[in-house]
Amino acid sequence: MHIVKWTVVLSIFWLLLSGYIEPLLLSFGAISVVVVLLVLKRMDKVENEPGHIGTSLRLIRYAPWLIGQIFSSGLHVTKLIWGSPDKVSPALAKISAKDIPPSSRVLYANSITLTPGTLSVDLEEGEVTVHALQESSIAELEEGQMEKKITAIWGENK
């Protein structure tokens, strides 16, 4: 039952943000959790797929790799900034994301934007339009290392 899951997550979130263990503030927290849960229950009727909370274990496997990517491509862009910014060769390309489960495509587009040097401009029908500072980054994306990583971690549930 995802309502129970949300109750636990929201309560922990409130406790971490407030840090006060006093009856008055705890009751405020309880009230706000109940209000959010009521809204959530009503929204579930509007949208037919209830928001699942994924296990964050997958994120723990993915995040270090992504941060590594961010650093290596960020250093590259920084070199361009201080070196010769007029020598950039911007390129625009469509990259297929059909192999990635639909629920993870947003993550793919966001990861592309998060790594400096590539920027997802549009996401339509399993195709991401990517703008890159250099054509080599497009080739790198087409090689599909990031795609494989995401499918390997999130692909097994569907």
Binding site: G74, V88, L114, P116, G117, S120
Partner: protein, 110 residues
């Protein structure tokens, strides 16, 4: 000054350097789309380094959790904002550098 302080100040200094580079790139790059790339250096690396440095300054209590939340939210919202900017620029008809230069050539050929 103990070991953690040294690591933390190195992270903070590196973060400041990348944040500054992003700002310089914002002015030096030629067009809108390339400038968004420069800004994303500030978004991602500088944010990770500066918050990482601040994390080591806390005494691993509630403030640590709050900083981790800030980092998580930044890592979700900043690419979304860049994406929204780029998408609306694209749909509004702004051309990329390659496209506009090929259009210039066509016009000069006429």
């Amino acid at each position: 000054m103990d070991f953690l302080d040294i690591v933390s100040s190195m992270l903070l200094l590196a973060g400041v350097f990348f944040g500054f580079s992003g700002a310089v790139g914002l002015f030096r790059f030629p067009d809108f789309f390339t400038r968004v790339h420069a800004a994303s250096v500030t978004d991602s690396i500088a944010a990770i380094l500066i918050i990482g440095g601040l994390l080591l300054q806390t005494s691993f209590d509630l403030n640590t959790a709050k900083l981790v939340f800030i980092l998580l939210f930044l890592l979700v919202t900043s690419p979304t904002a860049s994406h929204a900017l780029a998408k609306s620029a694209r749909h509004g008809g702004l051309l990329t550098l390659a496209e506009s230069s090929s259009q210039d050539k066509q016009e000069s050929a006429k």
